[in-house]
Subunit: 105 residues, 2 copies
DNA sequence: TATATCCTCCCATAAAACCGGAATTATCGA
DNA sequence: TCGATAATTCCGGTTTTATGGGAGGATATA
C-alpha cells in the first residue's frame, strides 16, 4: 500500500509538462520502450535536460532503464502507475455515502 | 478531452505532500465537504499556507468552494479526478500490443 | 589504441514554489 | 454601527526546480 509522501513524489514527477510528455511518450511506446536518443529526438530538448527529467521519473519508479550496448532503453512502469491510480481513488467518500464510488466491488 | 499542460497542472497541484493530504481529506469527506477551518484543524498548518494550497487546487479545478455564511465549504471535484485518471491511462501502448491494456473496449 | 556514439554529471543561472506573520475583506449577530 | 468570526491577500525571505552548456564516463568497432 502506497503512502502519501511516495504518491506525492510520483505526482510531482508527472506534474512537469516536459516530464509528463516524456512519460506519455513511453506509455505509447509500450513494452518495447524507447532509447534516450529517440526520446530526445521526439521531445526536442537538450540532452542534459532530458537526462534530468528521466532521472526524476526513474527515482520515483515510474520509468525503468535497461542497457543495450551503448544505448539505454527506457520503459514506463505500468505497475507503478496502476498503484498510483489506485491510491488516488482509494477511500473515496469514506465518511459518507458516495454515489460515484464505483471502485468498490 | 484533456491536454498535457492541464493534466500537468493538476498533477503538480497534487504533487505537494501537504496539498495531497488536503485533497485526500476532502475526498474522504465526500459530498458533504469540509470548511476551511476544519481542514486547518486537521492539517495543523498556518491559515495563510492552507489558503495558498487551497487556491492552487481550486485553480486547477480539483476542488470547489461554496459559501455558507462566514464559512467556506470545500469539496473535492470527483469528475475532474476521473478525467485526470482517464488521461493518464489513455493511449497505453498505442504503438504496440500491450497485454495489460484493459482500457480499450 | 584510436575513434565515434550515447548518455550522465557538474556547474551556473533564472524562475518558481513554499511558508507564515500581518493586514484586509466578507459575513453575521447584537 | 460595532464587534466577532472566517478566510484571503499582501509581503518578504528562503528553498527548490528547470534548463542547458560543456566535460567526462561507458561502450562498441576498427
Amino acid at each position: 500500500m502506497m503512502n502519501t509522501p511516495d504518491a506525492a513524489a510520483k505526482l510531482e514527477a508527472l506534474g512537469n509538462p516536459t516530464r509528463l510528455s516524456l512519460y506519455r511518450l513511453l506509455v505509447r511506446a509500450g513494452h518495447g520502450g524507447l532509447s534516450v536518443g529517440q526520446c530526445q529526438q521526439r521531445l526536442e530538448i537538450a540532452a542534459s535536460t532530458l537526462s534530468h527529467h528521466l532521472k526524476t521519473l526513474i527515482i520515483v519508479g515510474l520509468v525503468s532503464q535497461e542497457r543495450d550496448g551503448t544505448t539505454l532503453i527506457c520503459r514506463a512502469n505500468f505497475d507503478r502507475m496502476n498503484e498510483l491510480v489506485a491510491f488516488l481513488v482509494a477511500e473515496c467518500c469514506a465518511d459518507s455515502n458516495c454515489a460515484s464510488d464505483q471502485s468498490a466491488a
